[in-house]
Amino acid sequence: MTMTTRKENRRGLSRRAALRAGAGLLAAPAIMKVATAQTSGAFNWRRFAGQSIEVSLTLGPRANVLRAHEKEFTELTGIKVGSEAVPEQQHRQQVVIQFNSGNPQFDVLTVSLHVQKRLVGKAKWLHDMKPLLADSQLTAPDYDFPDFTGGGLRWATQGDGRMDTLPLNIDPWMIYYNKELFAARGLAFPKTFEEIVMAAEKLTDKASGQFGWVSRGLKNANVPVWTSFMLGYDVDPVNTKTIQLQTMTDGAIAAAEYYKKLNREFAPPGTVGFNWNEAQTSFSQGKIGMWIDGIGFAPPLEDPTKSRIVGKVGYGVMPQGPKARHSATFADGIGIPVASKKREAAYLYCQWATSKLMCNRLLQSGGGSPCRASSYTNPEVVAGIKLPREWLQCLQDSAAIGRQGLPEIVPVTEFRDVFGVGLTNTLGGADARAEMQKATEAFTPVLAKSEA
């Protein structure tokens, strides 16, 4: 006991003590409410009411769902949200430039984990979510973190154990096919890579403008098509343990040959300039047999105002490769810059964006595959999905055999560009092995320098 305290006791209650006690009495109900809320399950979402946050999103279905319900978040938390949705390529560039400036103008952002995971992880631009998740004052009791799928959490977690994003969406690749065209030729959906080629050949009738295959041909965008086949040989583009390129392996070359054959012989002319949107448009016209791409691109195909093949779309899981069967997967996360001065308010937004409610909405819209297991098993959620059941089954089956479609390295964009150019050149007749050799030689020093 200190002299000051003994003095206070001798004099009776001091003014300071009285004021302290009074403040405590006034605050007691609020503290009790919070404590009671924590123990009873009611969470105080309004702790940061009055603040405003800026959210930077990648333009697309996920952003559409989040922005459509932004007002709900504000009503729930009292936090105002200013959001912008920027096209994918420009968004990635913009956020990196802002991070590099040291003063990003956003408090929350979506991150393309298949492209930027290592970059943001190495630079430590984002907060580690783990302490925030462990804080019962900040994380609602019904958030149900164990509900996240193992795949989603692997995407969101860096090699050093930091979880610098919350997983928002996983996009497995699969093959859309035209059931009507297949039935007309008496074909079943292919079960192997060879059957893909055979089906594409049988479905191609250039005189009538019908083609058996379409996929991305534009450099950079086309690399996932190649890696989708590569995974069927049980080969990743980069061995992430030794950080060595595996792009000259037999599997990688064979995958490039498949890419070349399908796009050169059975795809419509001009595919070399196609990204996903041109391929989707072509497929939706009803004269293409198969289209390989992300499962999140399905909604326009079932929209009668945009598609001629409504009700005729088949959703096929990537067939068996010579050595393995995998669906190339890509993912998005949502994170908080270290530079943000509104970490807690931003975290509430991230928590809301990845809550069961919002994940269920994303699944029902057909524009994404949330990383929560409960979304797929909730009968009410499943009943509300706007796409055919076959789409959901394909999504679940693809996710079950999912494997990363791009290497987890820093210079992913450069990897996609260098190898994408090589793949595009094969469509002009260049030898696949020679192009992969050239690309491998060009990219090897880039990879070595990035990991140094």
Binding site: F99, N100, G217, P269, G270, E414, D417, T424, L427, G428
Partner: protein, 296 residues
């Protein structure tokens, strides 16, 4: 006032007004001088966003000299620029000669003719890209309707640059027309009267009177078009993104890739410096030509 006193007064006069130039000088320093110096500074470093920078001196320039993709992009840039200058100059000059004559609805036709240059390059490129779609685009529909084979347009390495030039020609011929038409409007009429009296025909009047009179304006249009074509980015990026492969990758597109896709800002800065030197050299050649073509 004696001469020395007048000179001293003039110097004082200049000094009194110098402070009024300070704001402009400050803005010039911030917007032009500092970025340029910082670009030179960055070009001397190995600097990738997210990684520490390292001083490397001229290493980036040495690397550029041996970079086959950069050397290829110079070729694409010069070829694209040549076509994008010569064709609009030829068509624009022809259009100016036509619009210099009086005919019914001339004003309306002139207004319609200059509409393309009012549109923003990105919007123009997006619409053209839709028209170029190999299966769904209207251009191939028109070609097949008249019995011609469809074209691959921007999706073939052989036709991508001519396709991009076609868009540039459509977009910027009106600008050339306006510049040359201004020269025609300013040309004196007396030489024509004298020529008619001397019995000169239309071709002789054009060859010996009109062409020399409008040459300074044509060269001015060449200078403007050359600088614009060298810097062209929107049209190429939107329509082909430098593809197929690298078939239409100009210096600008490659520079953009290095800086904003690969985040190699040191190397990209070296490309900027080399590109700037190239533009300056070309601009000086053209300005010399313009001096030569001025009316004596």
């Amino acid at each position: 006032m004696t001469a020395p006193i007048a000179a001293a007064a003039a110097r004082g006069y200049g000094r009194n007004y110098l402070p009024f130039a300070y704001p402009a000088l400050a803005i010039t320093a911030m917007v032009i001088v500092f970025p340029w110096l910082f670009t030179l500074f960055m070009s001397a470093h190995e600097w990738k966003i997210g990684s520490p920078r390292e001083f490397v001196g001229f290493a980036n320039y040495v690397k550029l000299a041996g970079d086959p993709r950069f050397l290829e992009s110079i070729g694409h840039t010069l070829w694209f620029t040549l076509l994008s200058v010569v064709l609009p100059i030829a068509f624009g000059t022809g259009a100016a000669l036509v619009f210099n004559e009086r005919f019914p609805l001339r004003g309306f036709c002139r207004a319609v003719f200059i509409l393309p240059m009012m549109a923003t390059p990105v919007a123009v490129a997006l619409v053209w890209k839709m028209m170029f779609h190999p299966q769904l685009g209207v251009l191939n529909y028109i070609l097949t309707s008249v019995g011609l084979p469809p074209s691959l347009w921007h999706t073939s390495i052989d036709t991508v640059i001519p396709t991009l030039v076609m868009v540039e020609v459509w977009h910027w011929t009106p600008l050339v027309m306006l510049i040359v038409l201004g020269g025609l409007a300013a040309a004196p009429t007396e030489p024509y009267e004298s020529a008619r009296l001397d019995g000169a025909n239309a071709w002789q009047m054009f060859r010996y009177i009109t062409l020399p009179l409008i040459m300074p304006f044509v060269v001015l249009a060449v200078v403007i078009r050359t600088i614009d074509a060298l810097k062209a980015f929107d049209t190429i990026f939107v329509i082909s993104e430098g593809g197929p492969g690298t078939a239409s990758e100009t210096i600008n597109i490659y520079l953009y890739l290095q800086a904003f896709a690969f985040y190699n800002i040191g190397y990209a800065s070296a490309i900027v410096v080399v590109f700037f030197v190239l533009i300056i050299v070309l601009a000086m050649v053209l300005l010399w030509l313009r001096q030569k073509s001025k009316w004596s």
